[in-house]
Symmetry: C2
Subunit: 313 residues, 2 copies
C-alpha cells in the first residue's frame, strides 16, 4: 500500500458527543421544568432551525419563554439537562417558519446546511438532532396507528397515548446500514440522482424487519450493485435526523467485481484507494468528491483509505 | 485469567442466516406470485405460530392455499424466495388462533418456545422472525398516524399508503442496545421482574432519537445501574421479533463499581468470570443461569467469559 496522505485530525462524528443528560426519569415533570426560568429551547419547524443571527453564524438556544413567543408551539419536548438546566425542543408549523424568515434578527436555515457550514457552535448539533428527530416523529404521528384517534402527548414528548384504545406509541428510530464494500485496493462507491453533482458515497439502506446488521449490509450491496459480500465489520454509528435514522457504518468484503446497478441508483463503480484519497482531500482532477465530515460516510471511507480497518484479504 | 471451560461449538445467532432471498424488486408482483401453486406460507397470529404436528415437533411451512384455508387472512406479506419459490407470511386474528389450538393435527405455540425448544427445523426461524415482525407491525398500524384514515397495504406488505393524505408508512424496526459492562474479571448482569426465576442477563434498552449506539449503551447502563462506561465495542446483532426489534450487542468498559439500581430493574450485581462460566454451563451451585443460545445475550456473555473480546484494561 502506498503511504497515506495526511487528512488532519479526526473530528468526532456529526451530531454525537451530546452534553445533554437525558434524565429519562424526570420526563414526568415536564410542566414543572418548563416553569424553570432558566429553561432553554431550540426552535424547529420541519427541516428548518431558527437561530438568532450573530457575526459568526447563529445562536440556536433561546430561553424557553422567548422560544414560545416566536410562534405557536405545536409540541414541546424535554431533551434533558445541561449543567442542571432543562433544555427543550419546540416544534412550530412550517408556515410559521416561513414567517420568521422575514425577521432580520433571525437566521432560519435547514439543519444540514447548519452542520456542513458550521453555522452554530458544535455543542448544539447533538441536541438539535435529538429535537429534530423527536419533533419530526410527532409531526407525522399525531393519530393512533391502531385505531385512528387523535393521541395525547405524554412523558414530556417521549410517548403518545391513545385516549380511545389506550395504545402507547413511542418515537421511531429507523436503523440504516451504510457500508463500504472493499476488495483489495479498491472500494465501491455509488451516487444517487439526488446527490450534489460529482459526489460519490457509500451505499446505504434501511434495516428490514427480521434481519440483522450484517445481513442487511449484504442484502443492500447486492440489491444496489449486484455485488455479493462476505465478512462485514462494524465501524461506528451516527444519529441522522433526516428525519429520524440511526446510521450504522460498516466495511464489507466484496466477493466479486461485476457491478449490476439498481435502477434507483444513478451510478456505482470501483475506485482505487489513491483516487479516493484525492476525493477526500478535494484534490481530485475531475472534481469528484465524498460527503463532508459531518456524515459518517466520510469517516467510513477515510478509515479504509488510511488502512484503519480490518483487511479482508 | 484461569483457563476457560469448553462451551462446545458456537451456534449462529438465533433468527439469523436466512435462506430467503427478499428480492425487494419483486414486491410489486404479489398477486401473481400468490397465484404460484408452489407458493409456501407461514401462519402467525399475535405471538403464536401455527404448524403441522410431527413426531419431532412441527412443520410451520404450509402451501399458501392451505394456509389461507386455516382461517381468515388479515394480511399476506411476501417474505421472499427460497430456491425460486415465493414464501409468504399469513397473519390471522388472535381468536382464529385460539380456534386452531383445538385441532389435533396442529401445533400452536409462541415463537419464543419454538426457538428455545427447537420445535421446528432451524431454517424456519429467520423467515418466521421476518413474518412475525412484519405482521405485528401491520396489526398495530392499520391507520394513518398522520391523519387517522384506514390505510391500504402496498408492495406485498412492505408499505401502507394513506388514501386520504397519501402519506407512505414503512415497517418499523426498533434498534435496541444490549450490552455487557465489564471491569477486569467481573461483569455486570441484571434481572428484571419478568425474567424466569434465577436468570441473569445483559442490560438493554431502546436507542432513542438523536443518539448513536455507543451513546445509547452508556446512557442505558447509567440509567439502569448507575455505572458510567467508557469505551464501547460492537459485538454482533440479531433480529428480535418481540415485536420488532434489532438487538445490537456490545461490550462496554465500566468506569466505576457502585451500582445504583433503577426501580424498573429487580436487581443488578457484579459477577466473577468463573461464576458466569458455571451459569453458562448450567452448573451454578445456586441454579443461577443466563439466557439460552437463541438470545444474543448468551453470546455476548460467553464471548467475554472466553476472553474473545477487546480487553479494556
Amino acid at each position: 500500500m502506498p503511504s497515506c496522505p495526511d487528512f488532519g485530525p479526526k473530528p468526532h462524528l456529526g451530531y454525537t458527543a451530546s452534553l445533554i443528560d437525558r434524565a429519562a426519569h424526570r420526563r414526568g415533570e415536564a410542566a414543572a421544568l418548563a416553569a424553570d426560568r432558566r429553561a432553554g429551547a431550540y426552535v424547529i419547524g420541519g427541516e428548518m432551525i431558527v437561530a438568532r443571527k450573530q457575526a459568526s453564524g447563529g445562536e440556536p438556544l433561546f430561553a424557553l419563554q422567548e422560544a414560545q413567543a416566536l410562534a405557536a408551539t405545536r409540541e414541546c419536548v424535554l431533551l434533558g439537562f445541561r449543567d442542571g438546566v432543562p433544555h427543550f425542543g419546540v416544534g412550530i408549523g412550517k408556515e410559521a417558519v416561513e414567517g420568521l424568515k422575514a425577521r432580520d434578527e433571525l437566521l432560519v436555515t435547514d439543519l444540514r446546511s447548519i452542520a456542513v457550514q458550521g453555522l452554530v457552535a458544535p455543542e448544539h448539533l447533538p441536541p438539535l438532532a435529538e429535537a429534530k428527530a423527536l419533533l419530526a416523529w410527532h409531526a407525522r404521528h399525531r393519530f393512533c396507528a391502531n385505531c385512528g384517534t387523535l393521541t395525547d402527548v405524554a412523558e414530556a414528548g417521549w410517548k403518545r397515548i391513545c385516549p380511545a384504545c389506550r395504545t402507547e406509541h413511542f418515537p421511531r428510530t429507523d436503523p440504516v446500514v451504510i457500508m463500504l464494500a472493499v476488495r483489495g485496493e479498491q472500494c465501491l462507491l455509488g451516487r444517487s440522482a439526488r446527490f450534489a453533482s460529482a459526489m460519490w458515497s457509500c451505499l446505504a439502506g434501511f434495516v428490514e424487519p427480521g434481519e440483522n446488521i450484517e445481513e442487511a449490509v449484504r442484502r443492500e450491496v447486492h440489491e444496489e450493485a449486484g455485488i455479493s459480500c462476505g465478512r462485514v465489520v462494524y465501524f461506528a454509528s451516527q444519529p441522522w435526523p433526516f428525519p429520524m435514522s440511526l446510521m450504522i457504518g460498516c466495511h464489507a468484503e466484496a466477493l466479486d467485481r461485476d457491478i449490476k446497478i439498481d435502477p434507483e441508483l444513478e451510478s456505482a463503480r470501483w475506485f482505487d484507494r489513491d483516487e479516493v484519497a484525492l476525493m477526500l482531500l478535494r484534490k481530485h482532477p475531475d472534481g469528484l468528491g465524498t460527503p463532508p465530515p459531518v456524515a459518517i460516510a466520510h469517516h467510513i471511507i477515510r478509515a479504509w483509505v488510511e488502512g484503519d480497518v480490518v483487511a479482508f484479504d
